[in-house]
Each structure stands twice: as C-alpha cells, then as structure tokens.
C-alpha cells in the first residue's frame, strides 16, 4: 500500500531532517508514529500524503512509484487517503456538515447521496447538534472532531492523522481512537502521529518512532502485534 525506501528530506539548503527512512504499510495495518516535538512526524506524514516531495529515495503508494507518476494522476491517489491535520484546516465559511462532506463532493457525489451518512457520522463524533455551525463557533475539540469526520467520511484506504486527539478530553480522545480502530477493522490502514503516550498504550499496535531523523520500529509492550504489520515491516527491514 505504502512503502518508503531510503527516503531523505531536507528543506531548501538546511540539514536533512529525515534520513534513510524505509518502511512499508500493508492494507489493514495500524501504526503509531511517535517522536519528540520537532522530530519530523508532520514532515513524514506530508511525504505520505504527497504534500511534499522527498529529497532522495523512493516512495510507492498504492502500487505506483510516486516519482514517475504524472502529477495529473496524484489526485486519484489522494482521494484514497484521509488526512487529519494538526491545525484542522477547516474551511471557515462552510458549516460542519459542508466541511465533512467536502471529500465526497470532490469525488463527484451528489449531496442527496451523502447527506444521511454525513449527519450520522457527525452525530457519532458527538456533533449531532452542531451540524450547521461554522468553525468559528466551534471549540478546539469540536473542530478536531469535524476534521476527523472529514478524513474518514469517504472510507479511505489509508488514514493519516497528525495529533488527532490533541485538543479533546480523555473520554473523547478514547472515543475517537476507537473510531480509528473500527475503521482499521473494516480494512483501512491507519497511521496516527502522536506524542501522547497514554494514547499509544490504548491499542496494541507497532510504533514507528522518529529519533534524530531516523525511523525506529518498536513492538507493542504486550507483543500482540498485528501480524500484517509485522510481516510488512520485516520484509522491508530484511
């Protein structure tokens, strides 16, 4: 589904912030991406969702070598991914409903086809009574839930979330994590970038930790690792 081979990234003429990153994500896997603040988690996620081009190395996404894929074909790959941005990136003049429905609208669906699904999803994330609210009237936690709903509404093959529970209380955080787990159970590969150790400990999933620009893989403490993830990672490492 997604693989990195010796990928390096530097901004302009600065130092290389990601070095020799190699890993693979297979369908249906669940990973945490961890590291201290400034370790490069967001940059690595941006490389994953084609928001950045690597300085070196090779990225394959959904079976395509990104370096040789014409840019006109990139949107179709992006539509197979859902992204939760750390700063939410909601469109201010659109309602919560319209923000969540955006990926479906981009995919060309008619509003009548997705209206019920979007309302149900918003209700599920606890925003059933805030459907027509615009982002400026939502709290930080509510905005985050709208951003998460937008990322998952199209049932993506790959979900990338950057600190998705950073602005919500523990109860909502757990609820959102279970939403990701449920999506994962239905076949979506999930990568959650977080520095929240309590969140990592909630699910037995492998941890990809960024240290000094390098990626280190950590097994979950219980050792009950998702077999598909173990196989994929091992195949790249070997």
């Amino acid at each position: 589904m997604l693989s990195f081979e010796n990928v390096g990234l530097r901004y302009d003429i600065g130092p290389e912030i990601l070095r020799d990153i190699s890993f693979a994500l297979e369908p249906g896997t669940f990973h945490f991406l961890t590291g201290r603040s400034g370790a490069g988690k967001t940059s690595l996620l941006r490389l994953m969702f084609l928001g950045l081009k690597p300085t070196r190395g090779s990225i394959r996404l959904f079976g395509h070598d990104v370096a040789t894929l014409p840019p006109r074909d990139w949107p179709s790959l992006r539509r197979r991914m859902g992204v939760v941005f750390q700063d939410f990136r909601l469109i201010d003049h659109l309602t919560a409903f319209e923000n969540v429905a955006l990926p479906l609208r981009i995919a060309g669906q008619a509003s009548g086809d997705y209206e019920d699904d979007v309302r149900e999803l918003l209700t599920w994330v606890g925003l059933g009574d805030r459907i027509d609210a615009t982002p400026d009237s939502l709290s930080g936690g509510e905005k985050q839930r709208v951003a998460i709903a937008r990322a998952v509404v199209a049932k993506p093959d790959l979900l990338l979330a950057d600190e998705p529970t950073g602005n919500v209380d523990a109860e909502i955080g757990r609820r959102l994590l279970y939403l990701f787990a449920e999506l994962n159970r239905l076949g979506t590969s999930v990568v959650i970038a977080t520095h929240d150790r309590s969140l990592v400990e909630l699910i037995d999933a492998p941890e990809l930790r960024l240290e000094m620009g390098h990626l280190v893989r950590l097994e979950p403490p219980s050792g009950r690792l998702n077999q598909a993830a173990r196989t994929a990672f091992n195949s790249v490492e070997s």
Binding site: F49, L50, G51, L52, K53, P71, R72, P75, S76, L77, R78, R79, R80, M81, V83, R89, I91, D92, H93, L94, E98, A101, L102, P103, R105, I106, A107, S111
Partner: protein
C-alpha cells in the same frame, strides 16, 4: 455537452467553496465595471462610425453632379442645359437627370447667404443632379469627355474625392475605437489574472485543502471560475447600464438642441437595434473573459504545486 459546460463554469448546487465575500474586493468590481463601460462605448463608437459612414456614402455614391459653368458674361445658355440633359439621358447607367432651377439653387446656398435669394446680376452655374442605376454601370471619364465636347465648361463631379476622404476618416476612427476596445479587453484580462492570483494567495489554505483532498485542478479552477463568472456578469451589467444611461443622455441632450438635425446624426445611429444588441454582448464578453481567464490562471498555478 451541458454537463461539460456546467463543469467549465464550476456549476454546483452546493454552497460555494470559496467565500462570496473577500475573494476579490469591491475595488475589482468597480474596475471591471469601468472596463465594461469603456468597452460598451468603444463598441458603440465602432458601430456608429460604420453606420454613419454607410449612410453618408450610400446617399451620394449613386449620384453624380454635372455643373455647367456660365460664360464670362451672361447666364448659362438653356440650349447647353438641354444638350447636356439629352447626352445624360442617353448614357448607359443614368436613371434620371434633373437640372436644378433658380429656386433649388437658392435653397442650396441659403445656409451660407441667407434667404435673400439669388442676385440676378450674378452669374450662377447650372447644376444637374444625376441619379445612377448603379455606380459600376457608368463610365464617368467617357461621360466627362462627351459632355465637355458638346458643352464646353462642363464639370462632372462623381463625389469620389469626398467619399474617399470620408472613408479614410471613417477607417481611422474605426481603427482607433477597435484599438481602444482591444486595450480594454487586454487590461480586463490582465486585471482578472492579477485578481485570480491574489484570490489564490488569499485562499491558499482552502486551495491546499482541496488539493490535498484529491481535488483535480479542474474542480478547484471551476470554483474560481464560478466566482469570477458572477463578478463578470455583475460588472458587465453595471457597465452596460452606465453606458446606456450615458448614451441616452447624449442622445436626448443633442436631439433637443437647436441644431439637432445636424448633430444628432451619430447618436440617432447609436441607438439602433444593432447597436443595442452589440452592447448586450459586452456583459457576456466580460463574463466569458473573467471565467476563462480565472480558470486558466488557476490551472497554471496548480500545475506548480507538489
């Protein structure tokens, strides 16, 4: 076909992804309204000049004037007039020939000499107004030679010197008005390009979200095209309204003047059905330029994004 057209202008029943307010300021609407106003005036000028030239030239192009000059003493010999009329009537291409009498001649010079009438002591030439079946039917040099031989002192004026000068002036004015129209279109296009780029910068966050959510350039460009379509239609309509108001003002102001007969010629032509229809094309053109320019500008900008 309809679906393709709707995609081209970014049609959608859903709320616009770009905010109605703030993408482009009021200043842009004002500038585009002024551009549309100037374009309307340029279109009106082009059509009016062409219409006026056609009216003026067509009224004299199928006529020639024969002038029989009087001898140094006395009046023109009536026999010479009769001879000239006989030659004219036998000439191929002449529909009719009519010699102006003293009353007609007095009417012609009345604007310059007043209504005092002709002084009988003054020698006046006799003018023969000749109507042609068609301009190309008559051999003017041959007619001139025949008349000069039969009636010495005869001059044939086929008005080509006048019409050629008029056409030269008309062509110059038409070229000027078309140049003005072209410059207005060029300026309007440049303004839309600039405004679209400013809109892209102002809404870079929205564009990035759409881009990263998998929106094709066509989709994003359609959103901008839809916004600028509305702007173009609005500015074009306001420019047209201002231009029509101005033309009507000029029309009635000049028509009510004492010398309305002389100076209302062009304003009267300006309000012909053709002129009005052509002016209606200006808002459509403004909308089309705005839409296509915005779309192309956005697509080119998005090509440079990762």
């Amino acid at each position: 076909m309809l679906r393709r057209a709707l995609i081209l202008v970014g049609h959608s029943n859903a709320a616009p992804i770009l905010p109605r307010q703030g993408t482009t300021g009021t200043a842009l609407v004002i500038v585009m309204t002024i551009m549309s106003f100037l374009a309307c005036l340029a279109v009106w000028a082009t059509i009016s000049i062409a219409g006026a030239t056609h009216t003026w030239t067509s009224s004299i192009s199928n006529t020639i004037t024969v002038e029989i000059k009087p001898p140094e003493t006395g009046d023109v010999d009536p026999q010479n007039v009769k001879t000239a009329l006989e030659i004219l009537e036998q000439t191929k291409g002449v529909a009719s020939a009519h010699a102006l009498d003293a009353k007609d001649t007095a009417a012609l010079i009345e604007p310059w000499l007043g209504s005092v009438g002709l002084d009988a002591a003054l020698p006046f030439p006799v003018l023969i107004d000749v109507k042609l079946t068609a301009r190309h039917d008559i051999d003017v040099p041959a007619l001139t030679a025949a008349l000069a031989k039969a009636v010495p002192g005869t001059v044939v004026d086929d008005h080509t010197r006048w019409t050629n000068r008029l056409l030269a002036v008309s062509r110059s004015l038409t070229l000027i008005s078309l140049t003005v129209l072209g410059l207005v279109l060029l300026a309007a296009t440049a303004i839309i390009v600039f405004a679209t780029r400013a809109g892209l910068m102002a809404h870079g966050g929205i564009v990035e979200i759409l881009h990263l959510s998998g929106a094709q350039s066509d989709f994003i460009a359609g959103e901008f095209a839809r916004h600028f379509l509305r702007l173009g239609v609005r500015a074009g309509a306001m420019g047209l309204a201002a231009a029509l108001a101005t033309l009507l003002l000029v029309y009635f102001a000049t028509f009510s003047a004492d010398e309305a007969e002389a100076i209302s010629l062009v304003p009267r032509l300006a309000l012909s059905p053709l002129s009005l229809f052509s002016l209606l094309l200006v808002p459509a053109g403004a909308a089309l330029i705005s839409t296509l320019t915005a779309r192309l500008t956005v697509e080119r900008t998005l090509e440079q994004m990762p």
